[in-house]
């Protein structure tokens, strides 16, 4: 499925957070949104996911959702958003329970996605028993369970340590290779962006506008962080963002 944003503008009171964002995300494409903190990238993602109403503009979905898709636009949260009173398997099962599936079919889906995220042995663990990386794997399994057309990922690796992040990035690439989902991936980590994105979109400081776009042609599976081309791209993104990030850092918060 394709995603198209037409002139998304958003204001909180007198503060303009997003100003006329136009963006198209092709089917099977991963678009990384980067930008200084407070530039509204998470707000934009919430608007795409229908969790927030933009002040102006609209988000359109084009094309048919894949076979058996329960939730075309599926979110992955930075803080995992697992229910602490449900085990890993039951957290996945939660998002299937409102759909007409037999109990056997549901547990088959749960077992399948847990296997794909290497969690089979942890199916009955409580979230409090899992490490951050494991929790995010459960959240990924939950997202996969509804067969999403578009994954909306809000800094999914930011709460993790760098080693876990590295491992999960590999897992994410592996999952994308299999599922070829469309994704909008918000991050503040430029290396993550050049590693995972087919396209990197830079948002400017408030009011957020698209200030730069970069396409990366190297196939995801072949990307290697020692690759000088990728490093140069990350460097270029940093140069483009640096002054903005410094200015954003010195801004007073108005939230």
């Amino acid at each position: 499925m394709e995603l198209r944003l037409d002139g998304i503008t958003h204001r909180y009171g007198a503060v303009t957070v997003l100003d006329g964002i136009d963006l198209a995300v092709g089917s099977g494409q991963v678009v990384c949104l980067v930008g200084p903190s407070g530039c509204g990238k998470s707000t934009l993602l919430r608007i795409i996911g229908g969790l927030e109403m933009p002040t102006g503009g609209a988000v359109h979905l084009m094309g048919e959702p894949p076979e058996g898709c329960f939730n075309p636009l599926t979110y992955v949260f930075q803080d995992f958003a697992l229910l602490p009173w449900r085990t890993a398997a039951d957290n996945v099962s939660l998002v299937l329970e409102d759909h007409p599936l037999s109990a056997e079919a549901r547990s088959a889906v749960v077992a399948d996605v847990l296997a794909r995220t290497k969690l089979t042995d942890f199916a009955n663990a409580w979230p409090r028993q899992l490490s951050g990386g494991m929790k995010q794997r459960v959240a990924l399994a939950r997202a996969l369970a509804v067969r999403p057309a578009v994954m909306l990922m809000d800094e999914p690796l930011s709460a993790l340590d760098s080693q876990t992040r590295e491992l999960l990035m590999e897992d994410l690439i592996g999952l994308w290779e299999r599922e070829r989902f469309t994704a909008v991936y918000v991050t503040h980590n430029l290396l993550e962006a050049v590693r995972l994105g087919h396209r990197v979109v830079v948002l400017s400081r408030r009011p957020g506008r698209i200030s730069e776009q970069m396409t990366i042609d190297t196939p995801l599976a072949e990307r290697d962080m020692a690759d000088p081309i990728l490093l140069a791209k990350a460097e270029r993104l940093w140069v483009a963002m640096r002054d903005e990030a410094a200015a954003a850092d010195r801004e007073l918060l108005h939230v």
Binding site: T74, Y75, F77, A81, L83, W85, R128, Q129
Partner: protein, 263 residues
């Protein structure tokens, strides 16, 4: 590079452990000391009867079969009043926590009525619901209703909003979100509300039974007091203590069962 000294340990402490045997030992020591003091004549029976006398009074109650009459009357009022107050209170708390209109309409009423000691309204309840069970159950109902409402809506307010957004982002129905996210999220607060409302219920039970009840622990204690039968009074008060402990124990069990996920 002169002297070599080990670094002294200065952490630790501030972490009380539970030591199982100490509690019972304290009780045994206290009661033995009390009994010994009574037998030695240090405490005159008029001031405070010996534990053995209170035990004898309890035994008499048991043998004549009146224990069951008093206890069943009290437990029935407690269970009916507390259950009704809790059911209605939890529902009202959820309404306040979920709907703006209910919050705007009910909150001022709850705030205004909560601080009234319900026992002060007992004469009114007697006029409204009769001198029998009705007025006693009503006292317990109103006494447990308000703290339950407050605990419940505070619990609902405290549910992590990102979890609710998560539910919405996966297209869960409103009812699913309430049942599977809001209710379990509010449950710890609701259960600690139960602890408070149950002790309030026991206090109100005794107070209500002191007015126009033939049977009930409160009536028994009141009668013993009027007759200066201090041994019976102590026996009755000990039963109330046991009743409170039992309720606390049951709520702890419920917590352990329902909040297993907290570990």
């Amino acid at each position: 590079m002169s002297e070599v000294r080990p670094v002294p340990f200065r952490g630790g402490g501030f972490r009380p452990r539970s030591i199982g045997v100490v509690g019972p030992i304290v009780f045994v020591v206290l009661i033995s000391a009390w009994e010994a003091a009574s037998r030695l004549g240090l405490i005159t029976p008029l001031v405070l009867p010996a534990p053995s006398e209170a035990a004898a009074a309890f035994w008499e109650l048991l043998e004549t079969g009146r224990l069951w009459l008093h206890l069943s009357a009290s437990l029935q009022r407690l269970v009916v009043g507390w259950t009704l107050g809790t059911l209605v209170g939890v529902s009202a708390g959820f309404a306040i926590g979920l709907f703006s209109l209910a919050r705007a309409g009910l909150m001022p009423v709850v705030s205004a009525l909560f601080p009234i000691p319900k026992i002060a309204l007992l004469p009114l309840f007697i006029i409204w619901f009769g001198i029998g069970e009705g007025s006693k159950v009503a006292t317990l109902f109103f006494g447990t209703f308000f703290p339950t409402v407050i605990a419940t809506y505070a619990g609902v307010d405290g549910v992590d909003r990102t979890l609710i957004r998560m539910g919405q982002s996966f297209g869960l129905t409103w009812w699913s979100i309430v049942r599977k996210i809001v209710l379990p999220g509010a449950l710890p607060a609701i259960l600690s509300g139960f602890r408070i409302s149950a002790s309030i219920a026991i206090i109100l039970l005794v107070a209500a039974e002191m007015i126009g009840a033939e049977f009930g622990i409160g009536a028994y204690v009141l009668l013993a007091g009027n007759l200066m039968a201090t041994d019976q009074l102590i026996a009755g008060v000990a039963m109330l203590s046991v009743m409170g402990l039992t309720v606390g124990f049951l709520i702890s069990r419920a917590e352990r069962l329902l909040l297993r996920w907290r570990g």
